[in-house]
Amino acid sequence: MQPPTPAPSRRRLSLDWLGIAPFVAFVALFLILPTMNIVLGAFRTPAGDYTLANVRGLFTPSIMASYWISIKISLASAILGCLIGFSVAAAIVLGGLPKWIRSPMLTFSGVASNFAGVPLAFAFLATLGPVGLVTVFLRTQFGLDLRMMGFSILSFWGLTITYLFFQIPLMILIITPALDGLKREWREAAAILGATGFQYWRMVAFPILFPSILGTLALLFANSFGAVATAIALTGSSLSIVPILLFAQIRGDVLGDPHLGYALAFGMIVITGVANGLYIWLRARSERWLK
């Protein structure tokens, strides 16, 4: 028998939980279970027995090559996005530019970071594609042939440059508040203690921003790693990155083994999961300092 007092509160509690039952049911049915289904599928044979063979199957040269090029593109676009986005945000916040630039720039970043997928690919094809605006301009005005120089919008760098269109604004949106958080007194305190501007950045400002920057890097990485539409619309299937491979696998089992497909998807979850976990952990760290 339970003691009499906790019983009513316990019943109240379970009734309260009923209030979010629809939400729990929805996410279970349309988010958690489908994902678990894939994850479990990655560790099962078609007969239903547990196995590691599928995951081991990922370590074949062609699949590893897919992961490798995906990781390279995601890293390149994340690092460049961080660098350029940081420069632009620093210019807006600390560069002594006119104040009115800030608000339109942030609004525009909000739009641009949401402008991804198929239309983004079209925009870059129309700009840097074989008959794109910039390509033609460089060829006719300067005699520079991008294709002769080895550049193609359908390549590693083409995809990276295209991804940067949403990566840079995302970095601007996330890092601007962090830059706002740098107090003027820190700079002044460092200066009066004898530090040069460079020493202030090296010993104070950069260490303070570092978790935010690294965290955003992880976020940008995951952001481009999971991007499917832009890549498909831009390159068709000529560039074999993981999302394109998975897309083709779901459509027509190009790997010839459905369970290898689950393993492929599982690998994606692991990579984006690690990147996002890193992001959450680093953000918590930087907030701890600045609360």
């Binding site: 305190a189 009066i192 020493q199 104070v204 303070i208 300092w289 600045l290």
Partner: protein, 349 residues
């Protein structure tokens, strides 16, 4: 020539002149307060000494060396900011050692100096903590230690107490004064709190609309304010309109009572001021001017009781000490007040 010389210092932001012809000589080891309401230019003066603002005209010299044009990081000045401004990514010890590291002091000497500074502020145990783990009062003491660690020539304190609780404010200001006197460091302290300035300064500069109204010891500032602004800003003050009966001899009439100021006055009316503690309840020898009034207010503050009495021409605030055998008068009671004519200040506008 004083240790720190400020001559004809002026500063304009656009059309706004925030500091006007500011002159001050500070001796070595002196504790000077810049006192005034917000926007009076006191912080701007401090920031020009620190090097964060460039004077429009004028000179700042420390120990004979010209400071204007020198970057803040070359001035060998220590500064404590209102909002602590500790580096959040560094521990307490690293914060205190920051200036030493910049100056290239070797590790052993630096560590010893940091330990010495932490002992000075009584926080020896907190070296490995981060600023966010400290209370406001502790953070501000660390900021003080950080400013003092590289042995600066001058210490600047920019309203260091105004973000703190009332109780900590009082204890920390005493601590700051003790440390300042122990180290003998020349200090400029900016505050808008007259009690703070009076309690810890060697001299006070009262500032008002970019001008130094009066420079003097706390005793001089309080008892002989030279302008109406200083008189009003520092301490509580009763202002009485008096009628001049004999300009040459300095005789005036206050609410029916005569007083002899003993110095030449303009004819007509004058404004006189008197501190609450210079007015006594009842008749006392040596306080020859006697006024009749009615008590309007009684505030029991503990050791002191502040009363207000209507004397017809004005309402005067005055103090009596608490005494077990003499309860204070109640509101509505008829009383006699006495004061001495020598305690009456003639206010200039």
């Amino acid at each position: 020539m004083a240790f720190l010389d400020i001559e004809h210092l002026e500063k304009s932001f656009g059309p706004m002149k925030v500091v006007k012809d500011f002159n001050l000589g500070i001796e070595k080891g002196e504790f000077i307060s810049l006192l005034g309401p917000s926007g009076c230019g006191k912080t701007t003066v401090l920031r020009m000494v620190a090097g964060f603002e460039t004077p429009s005209t004028g000179a700042i010299r420390i120990d004979g060396a010209d400071m204007v044009g020198l970057r803040p990081n070359r001035r060998k000045i220590g500064m404590v900011f209102q909002a602590y401004a500790l580096f959040p990514n560094l521990t307490v010890a690293q914060n205190v050692g920051f200036g030493l590291k910049i100056a290239g002091v070797n590790r052993t000497d630096a560590d010893a100096r940091v330990a010495e500074m932490l002992a000075l502020i009584g926080l020896s145990d907190l070296g490995p903590r981060y600023p966010f783990q400290l209370s406001g009062g502790q953070q501000q003491r660390v900021a003080l230690a950080r400013a003092l660690a590289p042995r600066p020539q001058v210490l600047l304190l920019d309203e260091p107490l105004s973000a703190l609780d009332a109780k900590i404010r009082v204890s920390l200001r005493t601590e700051i004064r003790e440390i300042q006197q122990r180290l003998g460091i020349t200090t400029i302290f900016v505050t808008h709190d007259q009690e703070e300035a009076l309690s810890i300064s060697d001299r006070i500069v009262v500032m008002h609309q970019g001008i130094a109204d009066q420079v003097g010891s706390p005793y001089e500032i309080y008892n002989r304010p030279s302008t109406r602004f200083v008189a009003n800003f520092v301490g509580t003050l009763n202002v009485i309109e008096a009628e001049v009966t004999d300009p040459a001899k300095g005789h005036v009439r206050i609410a029916g009572a005569a007083a002899d100021l003993g110095r030449a006055l303009p004819s007509g009316k004058v404004s006189l001021a008197v501190r609450p503690e210079m007015i006594s309840l009842g008749i006392h020898p040596g306080r020859e001017t006697v006024l009749d009034g009615t008590i309007t207010d009684v505030h029991f503050l503990g050791s002191v009781i502040r009363l207000k009495a209507d004397i017809g021409a004005a309402v005067l605030a005055f103090d009596t000490f608490n005494a077990t055998d003499a309860p204070p008068p109640k509101a509505g009671a008829r009383v006699q007040l006495s004061l001495s004519a020598k305690d009456l200040l003639l206010l200039q506008d």
